[in-house]
Each structure stands twice: as C-alpha cells, then as structure tokens.
Assembly symmetry: C2
Homo-oligomer: 515 residues x 2
C-alpha cells in the first residue's frame, strides 16, 4: 500500500515535472517567436520603433497634467480626456495625425454648439418634456449621422469626425438633464481635447516626423522599379528556360511575382496615403502645393500596365509552350525591347526620385528602335507562323501548322501551386497532397493541337501592348512633373540607368525595389 | 443729392436682393444635391436606412439609463460610458459589432487587471515614487502597445482591442494617483461597457441582423456572374466590331469593365468581410462551421482569372487590329469557347447560391468540346498565320507576313481615356483637351509592320489561358463546396444556365451582377 502510494506520488511528481518542462518549452518557443516577429517588424521599418517611443513620451507628458499638483488644479478631473485624445489621435504620419486631430476638434465644436441649442429648447418646458425632447434629439441625430456616414465622400474624409460629433453631442445633451454646469463640462472637454490634440501635433510634426507624402513618393518609385525588374526577369527567364530547362529556380519567380504584386495591391494604400498627404502642410520648392492626387493617377496607370505584366508572366506559366528553337530566333529583339521598357520605367523612377523632368524624346527614340528591331526580326524570319520544322522556303502551310501538342509542361501544376502558395499561405498545404484533378488532367490529355506558335505570338503581342500601356504611364508621370513643377531636364541628366539583367540561378538578385 | 441717395439705396437693395437670390439658389442646388446623394445611398442598399434607425434606437435606449431616475441612481455618473460604447461599437454587420464589442471588453478587462497590479506596486513607497512609477508605466505600456499594433496579425484582428487596452490602462492608472476609489471607477466602467456592448449585440443580432458572411457569399456569386458577363461581352464585341465598326457604344464597354473591375478591387473588402464573418456565430445546415477563409481563396483565384480577362479586354483596345476577314473565320468557335467559360462561371455561381455541389464532369466536357472546336478551326484554316490576302495554297510566306500596319485605330486614345476616366474621375477632364502626345503619335506613325495576325493570336491564346485559369477557380469552388458540406449534385440540378449574349447597342443589359 505504502509502496503503491510511493509509486503513485513518484509518477505524479514525474508527470508534473514533465508537464512543467513541456510548458517551459512552449513558453520558450512562443517567446522566441514573439521576439523574432518583433525584430522583423522593427527591421522592416525602423521608424516604427521611433514612433512607439514618441507615443510613450506623449502619453507620459499628458499624464503630467494629472500627476503634477498645480496643473491638476487648473484642468480638473477632465485631464483624462486629454490622455484619451492622445491615445486616439496620435498616428504614424503627420497627415494622419492632423486629419484625425482636426476631425476630432471640428466634430467636438459642432456637436457642442448643436447640443446647446437643443438644451436651450429643452429648457423651455417641464421636466417630462425635457426628457422626451432629449430622447427624440438623440434618436434623430443618432440615425442621421449614422446614415451620413454611408455617403462615400463623408466616409472617406470625415468618418471619424462624424463619429466624434455624435459622441460629444450625446455626452453633452444627455448630461444636461442631470448636471447644471453643462457649460463647464463642454468647456473642459474642448480645452482638454485641444491640449491633447496640440501635444500630438507637436510630437508628430517636430519630433522625427513621418510624412505620408514621402511614403507615397517612395512607394511610387519602388513600384516603378519593381515592375522594371519584373519585366526583365520575365523575359530573361522566358528565353533562358528554352535554353536550359534545368536551372529554373524560385528566386526569379519570386522577383517577377513581387514586382507586379506590389503594384496590383497598391490601390487602397495609395489612396489612404494621398488623402493623409493632402492634410500635410508640405509645399514644393516653388511654394506650390504638391499634387498628391496625381501620384494616385500614376498608380492607376501603373496598375493598368501591370495587368500586361501579369499576362506576360502567364505566358511563362502557360500549359502550351513554344519550342526553344523558335523562341531563340527572336530572343535578342524581345530581350532588347523588354530592356528598353525596363530602362524607361527606371528613368521615370529616377526622375521622380531626383524631382526633375525627364526627356520623353530619349525614351521614345530607344523604344521605337527596339520595336523596329523586333518588327524586322518578325519580318525576316516568318517561320514563327509556320511551325518549327521547315524554315523558310515554299511550303504547304496546312501541314506545317499541325504541330502536335507535345510540350505540355509537366511542372505547370506545381508552378500554379507555387503561385497560389504566395497568395494565401495555407493553400499549398492542400495543393501538394492533392492528385491532379480530373478536369485538369483531362484538358492536358486531350492533346490538342493548337499551333505551338500561338503562345509565343501572345508573348510578343503582350510586349508590344506593354509599350502602348507604358505610354500612359509616361503621360501620367509627365503630368506629375509639370504639376509638381519639377526642375527642367538638363543634358547632364543623361540617362545613366545601367541595364543589368537579373541573373537567373543566382540568389543575390537586385532587391532594392522589393520592400 | 437725395436722388443719388435714392439710387444708391435702390441699387444696394437691388444688390442685396440679387445676392439673396443667388444664395437661395445655391442653397437650393446644394440641398438638392444632398437629397439626391442621400436617396442614392439608400437605394444602393436599403439595409443602410434600417441600420441608421437601429443605431438611433439603441442610443435612445441607452440614454434612458441616464434619463430615468431609478436607473440613474443605480448606475451613477458612469452611464455616459455606456452611451459612448454604443456609439463606438455598433457596426453595420453582426460580425463587425461582435468583433468590436469583444475587443473592447477584453481590452478593458486586461487593462483593468494590469492597472491594479501597477497601482499595488506604486502604493508601496511614497508619493514621489508613486508618481514616477506611474509615469514610467505609462511610458513603457504606451510604447509597447503602439509597437505591438504594427505586428500584422495583431493589426488585423485586435487593433481596436489593443487601443482600448492602452486607453483603459491609462485611465485607471493615472486616476489612481488622485482618486481613492479606483476600484469603483473600474467596476463602473466595466459594468457600463458591458451594458452598452450587450445592447449593441442584442440590437444587431435580433433586430434585422446584417451578416458579413452573407455579404461575402453574395459578393462571391456576383463576382462570378460579373466575370461571365464581362467575357461574353468582350468576345461578342471583338467580333461584332469587325463586322460593323459603327455600332460601338459605351454600354458594352461599361459591362466588360465593371465585370472585372469589381473582382480586381475586391481583395481588401473580401478579407474584412471574412474576418468579420469569422466572429459570427453561424453554422451550416450540418452544424459545421462555414469556412469563410475559403471564400477569400475563391476570391484569390478569381482575381488571377480576371487578369486574363483584362488582357482579353486589352486585345480589344489594342492599337493593332486584326482585319475582320481573318477574325470572321474563327468567330464561331471563339464565341462558343467564351460562352462555355461564361456558362461554367454561371454554373459555379448558381451552385454557390443554391448551396449545392456541381458536376465538374459536365463542365469539363463542354469546355473540352469547345476547345477542340477552336483547335479544329485553327487547323483547318491556317491562313491566320499567313496574313490576310492569299488564303491557303502554296505561298512565299516571307512576302505575305509583311502586311503593312494599316489598321491603327484612330479611336484608341479616346478608348483609353474612357477607361482612365472610369478609374479616377478627374482624369478625363485633362485627357479630352490634350492633343496626342509626341511619343504616342510617334509610335503610331512609324507604321511598323507587325503581322496583323499577332493580336488575334494573342486573343486566342488568352481565351485558352482562361480555360486553364478557370480550372483553378473550379478547384477552389469545389473545395468550398466540400468544406461547407454543400449537398451533393443531383440530376435534377441539370445545368439550366441560358447563355444569353449581351446585345451590343442595347441599353437594357443584364445588370444583376453590377452591384
């Protein structure tokens, strides 16, 4: 009995010990993960650390209002409202803080005025009428402001202000029923909000300010460069694959994908930044308001442009592939054209970065030359459209276009999985264990005999289409340069963009745009 | 003198009268505009009106806490906190309200616990130490929570909760320096937040509830249908144009554009809805949690699919156009394939709407047949790849591919302007007055001699590519059906989708998907 007790307690001790160990390990693992995440977030953008410290400092300063005796007497109990204002209004960039602060201030002022009007009317008659009137006013104002918040223009610019309006209105109106010195409440609230808001503005404007406008400016530059990388990598990869199927690696795929992904997903972020930037008191060097809306327009044309890049990338991943022998014929002129497009994009990026105008002439000359080259190649070697076997000469085209559908790529499904993995983390987990779906395999197995030239023609067509779309990007950037009054193009601004081809099968790829 | 005075006063009166008139007109115009906007917002989604009334009602109810005497005694001054909670927490859908309410509740509870710990430590030593300690705690917590809000996972799910945590922590900690009954403050705050939050939940759950999950479900269906319309209109328009250049009208353009635009821009909205839906206590008919994340995955594959539609649309707007005589040869099989793709999309939409599985077999059979048709056409009429003039027979291909670049469309720039106008309202204002840019005209004028077949090849290639992308959409919807445990496909679910071709040059187009 004693023995069994001993064993029992021993095994219990063992169990506890084991459990504690496993809990300890779990804590260690999770704290390690948390630490890594925290470091990563900080490394991605070190300004985040600075901003956190700024918020901490602002909160401590505003708390002094309450902690230090003389100040406390002046402000009274309502000092808390200043603390709340700091927590709510202090945002990452100057523009966001200003926008929120002004919204909060205006909302409070408007609500205060209206609340006093309501109180004045409510005071006319007896107690019951007053309660009913206040209740009705709360209902009407509550419903109206909620409805107003659905209007797109209001939602975009003044959503927070309308909410604060409703909040303050209710606070003052409802309080007025029980409290006599409503005026005091309102005055204190406005004063403390002003103190809190003012402190936020000072902190975000004067202590290491972050500007939404700057972020927008930089993200536009990095999007242009990302697209340039994407196109180059795409074309190099297309022709590289045809030469050497073995050296496919994921890093190029990654480069292509990240380049256009950043552009495709940029709409909401761009618009928010432009909106915040429009609150920021920034002027160009000619004392001229910087046209932030034009940046979003450049973003729009870039998105249109990027759809072509997606289609180009689609040609790479296509199930039907043109044989390498055909591709090789047009390799140089295609790569040249893609390089010129990339160069033009980089030149646009540089012109925005240096805040100068660019020379559309130089850009268009090079592009036209490259287009002409491709055109000449297509003319001089028309076998593209005759199948791969018999080059030139007199042939029966009916026979030759019937090249059988031989190069269905075995790895296409894994390619697609790779892409979908990028899009949504969990997807690939299912994808890998899944066998080929009946439909997919069926399409692949019917061995259709589409001309093998078809996808290559699409690829070339997309390249040409890209030049047309580039034109709209150039237009938008030109407008931006004019509206921002960038300095004129000078001869020493000679385009010095070097056209490095991203090396396939090499990990140290140009990564400056993949922020 | 008197006369001049009379005239002066007369003219002043006239001036005032005129001014008042113009002010009156302005007021009339603006109030008219405001009224029209309000009506439009309500018509777009009548649930908005209901929601506004619900918020008004909730606010009035919570104000009663303060207005009615017995209730007021119980709750005390802190009743205001309940009113504020209602203003802040009450959102349009159940999921959003629940998410915000739980965030607010948890944040408050956590902050309360921590604040008491801090107060306990601060109470140990003297008054000065207490002040310093509170200040330090405010700084450290302020900086830490701000930093934590940058972590993507926290930002996405708990941003509001972390903010409320910081807010409440500061409120209690700082108050504790001057007020003795902090426990009372904290208790009242928690109680009132619970009352306010509870009221919000009751109102949004029981009175005409709006479900984020339902919105996500419906938007997925309408996106599928929008894409189907877009593709059909695109193909019909492509071949219609070639027959009759005159009857281009903007309504088809609009239909094509809106169809894919809704999909392209859907990412942020889908993810928000899925997040909110995951808070909602909804179960499928098998008491199985509905996999909302899978809806966003369907959305992702749809976006990938839509890039091909954009490229297809790009072929329509391309500067180089294949002559109608060539297009006419493949018209039927191309239209057939596009119809099958649209039909498949509509079938997917219907299966999601009816919450049933679909038959991949049926879909793939039809698609394969259509693909085979197109393939046969391309085989039997290979003159596509030989230029438009000499059909069939033995030819010298070198000569025939040199078809000159004759069909640069004069209206391409206006087309692009139309598109960019859609994207950003102001753009077209500038675009219309702008003459053709030097670069643009230069590219157009060099009269390149790209084979006219190139863009048509791209068009066909995109159609085929689309089938491959459709496969991923089908996969995703199949997974959705499995995970949601939709009912099995039965024979009576025979596909009854009618394939109406959207009639070009007709304004009453199918608009059910263009919400």
């Amino acid at each position: 009995m004693a023995e069994s007790n001993y064993f029992a307690s021993n095994s219990r001790r063992h169990w506890i010990w084991k459990n504690m160990n496993s809990v300890g390990e779990k804590v260690k693992r999770y704290s390690g993960l948390a630490w890594r995440t925290a470091v990563k977030v900080g490394k991605e953008d070190p300004r985040r650390v600075v901003h956190s410290l700024k918020v901490g400092l602002a909160l401590t300063l505003v708390s002094l209002l309450y902690l230090i005796k003389p100040l406390f007497r002046g402000i009274g109990q309502n000092a808390m409202s200043a603390v709340l204002t700091v927590v709510v209004v202090m945002e990452f960039t100057v523009g966001a803080t200003l926008g929120k602060g002004l919204n909060r201030g205006l909302g409070t002022l408007l609500a205060g005025s209206l609340a006093f009007l309501v109180e004045y009317i409510a005071d006319i008659a007896g107690r019951v009428f007053q309660a009913v009137f206040i209740g009705a006013a709360v209902f009407v104002l509550g419903a109206t402001t909620t409805y107003v918040r659905f209007i797109p223009h209001i939602k975009k610019n003044y959503d927070y202000g309308v909410m604060i309006f409703l909040l303050t209105f209710n606070l003052i109106t409802v309080s007025s029923y029980r409290v006599d010195n409503v005026w005091e409440i309102a005055k204190d609230r406005i004063a403390t909000i002003a103190i809190g808001g003012g402190l936020c503005l000072v902190m975000s404007l004067l202590v290491f300010p972050n500007w939404s406008g700057e972020d927008l400016h930089n993200s536009t530059i990095s999007k242009l460069e990302g697209l340039a990388n994407s196109i180059e990598a795409c074309v190099v990869r297309y022709f590289h694959d045809s030469e050497n199927q073995e050296t496919q690696d994921d890093s190029t795929e990654d480069l292509i994908y990240k380049g256009y992904k950043a552009v495709l997903d940029s709409r909401a972020k761009d618009e928010t930044l432009a909106l915040q930037a429009s609150w920021e008191p920034r002027w160009s060097r000619y004392w001229h308001r910087i046209p932030w809306r034009q940046y979003t327009k450049v973003g729009t044309t870039l998105r249109q442009f990027s759809y072509t890049v997606v289609a180009l990338h689609g040609c790479l991943l296509s199930e039907i592939q043109t044989p390498g022998s055909i591709r090789a014929l047009y390799k140089d002129s295609c790569i040249k054209l893609a390089e010129e497009v990339s160069k033009a994009l980089r030149e646009l990026a540089n012109s925005i970065r240096d805040k100068r105008q660019f020379s559309p002439q130089v850009l268009s000359d090079n592009l036209n030359e490259a287009l002409q080259n491709l055109n000449d190649d297509l003319k001089s070697q028309p076998q593209l459209f005759l199948g791969s076997k018999k080059f030139g000469g007199t042939t029966h085209p009916e026979e030759d276009t019937k090249v059988s559908f031989s190069s269905v790529r075995g790895d296409c499904s894994s390619m697609f999985e790779y892409k979908s993995k990028e899009h949504s983390g969990e997807m690939s987990m299912e994808g890998h264990t899944k066998v080929l779906k009946p439909l997919m395999s069926k399409i692949a197995m019917t061995s259709l005999e589409f001309s093998e030239a078809l996808p290559f023609a699409a690829f070339t067509s997309m390249l040409v289409e890209m030049v047309a779309k580039l034109d709209h990007v150039i237009d938008a950037v030109e407008d931006l340069a004019k509206l921002s009054r960038f300095r004129e193009f000078r001869d020493e601004d000679e385009i010095v963009v070097t056209c490095e081809r991203p090396k396939v099968a090499n990990n140290d790829l140009p990564s400056y745009a993949l922020d």
